[in-house]
């Protein structure tokens, strides 16, 4: 029983091998071949075909198995060590698919075996895990590469953008453009160097601050800018605005919408200070206060007025009627330190001494019939300011005396009062007389003349500054049109020629009257010769050098005599040559006591 029970049960071992799905090959040293042990699994025949007497024909095996079995003797003959598996290999099966096998050597005492197994579900599971892991690594690699590419692209774009920004900034700075950028809240996000220079501050001092806290504009200008900033159009411009920085500047402001960011605004400042100053100087040259003219004679007058305004002396303005003596007086006042005090103008011509005295110095109630209450005079009314006494050559002798006292003592005494009152008034006097001759004739006090003629301004007659006539006429045309509501734009060249050739005995006043007449008469938008007053329109333009060459330095008397001489004593012809009417010519001769002589 015992022997029988230990006898090998070949059928059992076959069943076990079949159940393990393993091929067992044993090396037969004597036959020098591998022999199959037991019943092989079904897949084995797909690998090697049929096996004759269990003997393995290596030439029928796959290259891998040949290689492995061929080299396994070196494993068996080698020193004891780990038994080396073949590793997995793939064999085609007969259904056109593949199967994965693995072999291992085995020692059983002296018996040398090779076990070959087909790798099944565990192997496939492991394969799928590796497959997924590698696919994930590839995907991550692609993602990382994509990120690197994106990063590289973005860095490139950023660098390009930085370069563009630097270039634009360099260009901007090179242009010297003053500009700031405002965000949606009106806070400054950028300013050029020129702006910082203009503001006199550093970038960090203004960044993030509201524009109206940084830019010192006048209130009305700030409101205007705010209005423009809130507007929707792409470009606004305004100015010149006065920028009250470390030094005041006149700027033209351009407000642009940032097309890339709707809420942002770009403000560009164009410094127009120099242009403004030049324009002012030009305007000043063409006009001074309300005086118009840029002839050398008038420029000398403007300078004289400036000089006179700097001192507080009495001034005598001399000039023909209509030359603008009161305008000069006002200009002196406006340019002087007294400009914020009253300017009182009084015409002394044709007034009796009592009326003039009362007007100038005031009176006490009851001082004369009709003096029903105390009345201050013009001196008191002009306290601190300027009193303009026009036609001073016409004031009666008694008033001259009183006036002299005022100028000497700085005191006035009201009519009917005994107590003098101190006054602080600058007197500017004017006359069309030759006061020196009046002094000689005894009609004007010499001491008063010297007192009022400390400074003198002589106004040229219009005929001595004919080059100012176009400017004056155009200015008057604008004024008259504004007053009358008519739209007359210009003067016809022939009209201008007539105006230039007229002698203008009434000076600027006469010219203005002529322009008013012409505007009223004008039916179109251009003043033609026929629109002028008849004495001007009817004059023959005779370009005689003897008449029309400026006669600066000559007085009117000389000109009358010269015209008479050239006309060989013919007064009508002489009047025509002078561009004045015959009646005016006669009157002028009378004024100069020439009527009988000639």
């Amino acid at each position: 029983m015992t022997d029988q029970s230990h006898r090998p049960d070949t059928s059992l071992s076959d069943c076990v091998l079949a159940a393990l799905d393993i091929v067992v090959l044993e090396w037969e040293e004597g036959l020098r071949e591998f022999r199959l042990q037991g019943v092989p699994p079904e897949w084995w025949s797909q690998c090697v075909g049929s096996t004759i007497r269990n003997s393995l024909d290596l030439s029928q095996c796959s290259p891998f198995l040949q290689d492995y079995l061929g080299g396994i003797h070196s494993v068996w003959q080698g020193s004891p060590g780990p038994i080396e598996k073949s590793g997995a290999w793939t064999e085609p099966d007969r259904q056109g698919g593949t199967m994965t096998l693995e072999a291992r050597p085995l020692f059983l005492g002296p018996r040398k075996l090779v076990l070959i197994e087909r790798l099944g579900s565990d192997f496939e599971h492991m394969r799928s895990i590796v497959q997924r892991a590698r696919e994930r690594m590839l995907a991550e690699d692609i993602t990382a590469k994509s990120h690197r590419n994106t990063e590289t692209r973005l860095i490139g774009q950023l660098e390009a953008s930085e370069r563009t920004k630097d270039d634009a900034l360099a260009l901007l700075q090179q242009l010297g453009l003053a500009a700031i950028v405002l965000d949606e809240r009106g806070q400054i996000t950028f300013a050029t160097d020129r702006t910082l220079e203009m503001l006199g501050c550093a970038m960090q001092e203004i960044l993030g601050r509201p524009w109206d806290q940084v830019l010192s504009f006048r209130k009305e200008d700030r409101l205007l800018i705010q209005h423009l900033l809130e507007g929707s159009s792409k470009i606004h411009s305004s100015g010149p605005l006065c920028f009250e920085g470390a030094s005041s500047k006149w700027i033209e402001l351009g407000i642009h919408r940032d097309l890339a960011h709707t809420g942002r605004r770009i403000l560009i400042f164009n410094d127009r200070t120099e242009v403004h100053a030049l324009r002012q100087a030009l305007n000043e040259q063409a006009s001074f206060h309300d005086l118009i003219g840029k002839s050398p004679a008038m420029l000398r007058v403007y300078q004289l007025v400036r000089d006179v305004a700097q001192v507080d002396t009495t001034v005598l303005i001399e000039g023909e009627t209509g030359t603008g003596k009161e305008l000069i007086a006002r200009a002196i006042h406006s340019s002087s330190a007294r400009k914020h005090k009253p300017f009182i103008a009084a015409n002394c011509a044709g007034l009796t001494d009592s009326i003039l005295t009362s007007q100038l110095f005031g009176h006490k109630r009851g001082a004369f019939t009709g003096a029903i209450q105390d009345q201050q005079g013009l001196f008191e009314a002009a306290e601190g300011g300027t009193l303009f006494l026009d036609e001073i050559g016409d004031i009666p002798p008694q008033v001259q005396t009183a006036l002299l006292r005022v100028l000497q003592e700085k005191e006035i005494t009201r009519l009917g009062e005994a107590k003098p009152r101190t006054v602080n008034v600058r007197v500017v006097a004017a006359t069309h007389h030759n006061l020196s001759e009046d002094v000689l004739r005894g009609s004007f006090r010499a001491d008063l003349l010297y007192r009022i003629r400390i400074a003198r301004v002589q106004l040229p007659p219009l005929r001595d500054r004919r080059e100012d006539i176009p400017l004056l006429a155009q200015s008057m045309l604008g004024q008259v049109c504004a007053a009358t509501g008519k739209t007359v734009e210009r003067l016809h060249p022939d009209t201008l020629r007539l105006l230039m050739s007229h002698s203008w005995p009434g000076n600027v006043r006469e010219l203005k009257s002529a322009v008013e007449f012409a505007v009223i008469s004008c039916k179109g938008n251009e003043i033609c010769p026929m629109d002028l007053p008849p004495e001007i329109a009817g004059a023959t333009v005779v370009p005689s050098p003897s008449v029309f060459i400026p006669l600066s330095g000559q007085d009117e008397k000389t000109r009358l005599l010269a015209a008479l001489s050239e006309a060989k004593g013919n007064r009508t012809e002489a009047a025509k040559r002078l561009g004045i009417s015959r009646a005016t010519f006669y009157r002028r001769l009378g004024e100069f006591d020439l009527a009988s002589d000639q």
């Binding site: 080299g71 997995a88 793939t90 590698r134 590839l138």
Partner: protein, 173 residues
């Protein structure tokens, strides 16, 4: 007939199996299926009017999951190092594998190929790196298993080298 064992070596997913399939059966599949273990394919080529049977051992890709089993290399006559031009790391893997082969079987003939030339715009392996390989004596091919470019030349060159290892063909260099 002369038989030569050639191992296909390289990192995972560089296209070893695709190159072998393109060479043996002229087939290409876009679907990536990782190789576990080894698959042996055969193809006979004519070299110097001799038929040579190339036994192409398509080994699994080298990575952190699978390292080369030196027993696979034994008996090799030559080998092909495959790199993926779009992944620079596969060049480093190829260098390591080359050292492993030299250590295991000695300085046997080999060629290398930078695969996926159809994606050349995405290549990470740049010209200086390629020049460096050539300076170290690597025959470097460019090719695409997908397009079939450079495949025949690759295997043909190695077959030629196997028969006359002392003088590799000029075209291989």
């Amino acid at each position: 007939m002369i038989q030569k064992k050639i191992c296909m070596l390289g990192g995972f997913a560089v296209g070893k199996t695709s190159l072998v399939r393109r060479f043996v059966t002229n087939v290409f599949s876009e679907h990536y299926q990782t190789t576990i273990g080894v698959t042996v394919e055969k193809k006979t080529v004519m070299v110097d009017q001799q038929d040579v049977m190339l036994m192409l051992w398509d080994l699994y890709g080298e990575d952190e999951f699978q390292h080369i089993r030196e027993s696979y290399l034994r008996g090799s006559s030559g080998y092909i190092l495959v790199m993926d031009g779009t992944r620079k790391a596969t060049l480093d893997t190829a260098r390591l594998l080359q050292q492993t082969v030299v250590r295991t079987v000695g300085p046997i003939p080999f060629v290398s190929i930078i695969n996926k030339s159809d994606l050349q715009s995405e290549w990470e392996i740049d010209q200086p790196a390629i020049e460096q390989l050539r300076e170290q004596g690597w025959p470097v091919f460019f090719g695409s298993a997908k397009l079939g470019q450079g495949v025949e030349e690759l295997f043909g060159c190695l077959a030629t080298m196997l028969l006359s290892p002392a003088s590799p063909p000029r075209t291989c260099l």
